[in-house]
Amino acid sequence: MSSLLITGGRVIDPASGFDATADVLIRDGKIEAVGVGLQADGIAVLDAGGAVVAPGFIDMHVHLREPGIEHAETIETGAKAAAAGGFTTICCMANTIPVNDSATVTSYIIQRAREVAPVNVFPIGAITKGSLGEELAAIGSMHKAGIVAISDDGRPVMNARVMRRAMELARALDIPVIDHCEDLNLSAGGDMHEGDQSVRLGLGGIPSSSEDVMVARDLLLAELTGARFHVAHLSTQRSVAMVAFAKSKGMAISCEVTPHHFAITDDELSSYDSNFKMKPPLRCHPDVEAIIEGIASGVVDAIATDHAPHAGSEKMQEFERCPFGITGLETAIGLSLDELVHKNRITVTRLVELFTTGPANILKLDRGTLRPGAHGDVTVFDLDTEWTFDVQQSCSKSRNSPFHGRRFRGGPVATVVGGKIVWKREQ
């Protein structure tokens, strides 16, 4: 158990409403105090002068590819990329090989993470066996083993009856159901957002409605079952409106958006660069605007990366043959600062919420705050240092980022997990 004194930063803890220049003392892995002029003999000191000191950031949607797809990422490399991106906690999706649909796989991931991951790793279990959408997975056993939510991310449950049963079970276990909302019949053959650009480029389109109809279905099923329901990587203006409506009715609904969905649009696809290919696809300007308004108004609860590493050879093909997904852990804070804070769409405090209390509340994690007694997880980031993202230097095993070479203003400075500095920016 480590101890650390973080001095002189602007401490922002949305959970307790704290926002002032102060020191944070972590003793034996737990927050001991937040205050001015804290003294502690024989404890390592991290000077955070000029930077923001926040509760450890949580990314509730990543793909670590282990077990089974270790040539693209491992629990170790993915967790290191998370640390380098300022995250202290990540939740990994179930679409590994084998799928995380049993307590055995869940336990393997947790055990492996304890051995090699510098950050906290919480697995998300599959909804159905093999994520085939037919028969429910061993959800109760996985819950006992440590999953924090269920999702068939990437292979959404098409059968509404199966989804209903999953929601009923999740409600009893008090875990959220996370859905990658996509009607696979409407999106079949699609490689990018359906619109002017897809028609111009001659690429198959994925209509916004393929997301919207599933968000609508799931909201109705959540109402039917009383389950806590979470929309993963929401990308369309209609979905923002539907989630806002459900929330206004008092339903236990939440949603996340990814940095790439508010930072760039389908205009980028003209290059046929497969690093712009992901699901949901990059949408168009009105969707981006609606998402950012949703972030500002509180409809959006969390920012999550959907970090989806793919080996280089898989992305070096004809566009239509390339797999969907991009990496995102190391660029999330930079993109959020650039597109949301520096453009005066939200405050820094709201940004911290989206990465801390937002996901912690959805998953009911006892993290995301600097209150005394809490886990000693801290993210230190600054608002103004200019830096360039070089994908070749990424801690991830994969290189499929569309943000290689992009200049950022502000980003992660240090990542502290349980009082231990697990990553620090090179001076």
Binding site: S198, G202, L203, D273
Partner: protein, 310 residues
């Protein structure tokens, strides 16, 4: 973040959209020089002597492939044609590896057809050899649009103000996209017509001067040019309608021609399906310029290859 759009002059010919009017006019003018006189064949020149052109066809093609071969040889170049079937591609070699292997043999240009939209743009970012796009997926088929423009200009003084109806499977047609870009740059009125599932609304935003019609009579009214497209069954997820119904509503028959300008010309990129997109009577009528298109294909491709290689 996007790759820079390479200039057609230096990097080959990837599409019509990024060409400017002057470049197009120069190619069309030069193609006229290459057109054969009646009862003669194409000129034979030696301007590309010592150059090697690789024709790499990942998708079946007869007319475009032969047309490029004849064009290159008439300019004195050597040509090698590789069909994807029977090559290392069918043994699982990736597109990048295939092209890298070919590039190591130092050809002067690669003429490429591929079923995936954007495949030549993808390769142009990784290779330093000029690539001529001979059709990529649903995206562009630039030399087809150039030969179509050459053919229209053989019958009309200018493209400006012409009413051109393009009819058929627009959604899956690279020929339609390239033609829309080209005709729009010269101020033509373009009507796209087809069944709803093959005529996405967004096509109206493809370029200035484009309008959409579901009814054939509306599209043909007052047309100077009618371009019929092949129904690309191989690219469709589901057939929009039966063959019989398609011909009934979107097949071109003699009675339609009365609605168009008296000197209307009928075009088709081939291969034609008689009784599917157009009736035999139309295909063989005086208004049909389908064989002129084929002839101009060689002339235009000579102009393109000469421009890129000499």
């Amino acid at each position: 973040m996007s790759a820079p759009v390479t200039s057609a002059k230096t990097a080959g010919l990837l599409g019509i959209e990024n060409l400017d009017r002057t470049e197009i006019e120069e190619i069309l003018e030069r193609a006229r020089f290459f057109q054969p006189l009646p009862n003669e064949t194409y000129r034979r020149l030696e301007v590309l002597k010592g150059k090697t052109v690789v024709n790499l066809f990942f998708e079946a093609s007869t007319r475009t492939r032969v047309s490029f071969e004849i064009a290159a040889r008439r300019l004195g170049a050597e040509t090698i044609t590789i069909a994807a079937q029977g090559s290392s591609v069918s043994k699982g070699e990736s597109l990048v590896d295939t092209l890298n292997t070919l590039a190591a043999m130092r050809p002067h240009a690669i003429v490429m057809r591929h079923a995936a939209s954007g495949a030549p743009m993808f390769l142009a970012r990784h290779l330093h050899i000029p690539i001529v796009n001979a059709g990529d997926g649903l995206h562009e088929h630039p030399t087809q649009a150039l030969l179509d423009a050459r053919t229209i200009l053989d019958h009309r003084p200018s493209l400006s103000g012409l009413r051109v109806a393009i009819i058929g499977d627009i959604a899956h047609s690279r020929v339609a996209r390239s033609n829309v870009h080209l005709l729009s740059k010269f101020g033509a009125d373009i009507v796209l017509c087809g069944p709803p599932s093959l005529l996405p609304r967004e096509l109206a935003n493809l370029a200035p001067g484009v309008s959409l019609a579901f009814r054939m009579k509306e599209a043909i009214q007052g047309a100077d040019v009618i371009m019929m497209l092949r129904v690309q069954l191989e690219r469709q997820h589901e057939a929009p309608m039966s063959a019989g119904e398609y011909f009934r509503f979107y097949g071109l028959r003699l009675e339609h021609l009365a609605l168009a300008k008296p000197d209307v010309i009928v075009m088709h990129p081939g291969p034609i399906n008689r009784g599917r997109e157009l009736s035999s009577e139309v295909a063989d009528s005086q208004r049909s310029v389908i064989l002129n298109q084929v002839e101009n294909g060689v002339a235009v491709r000579m102009a393109v290859l000469e421009r890129i290689l000499s």
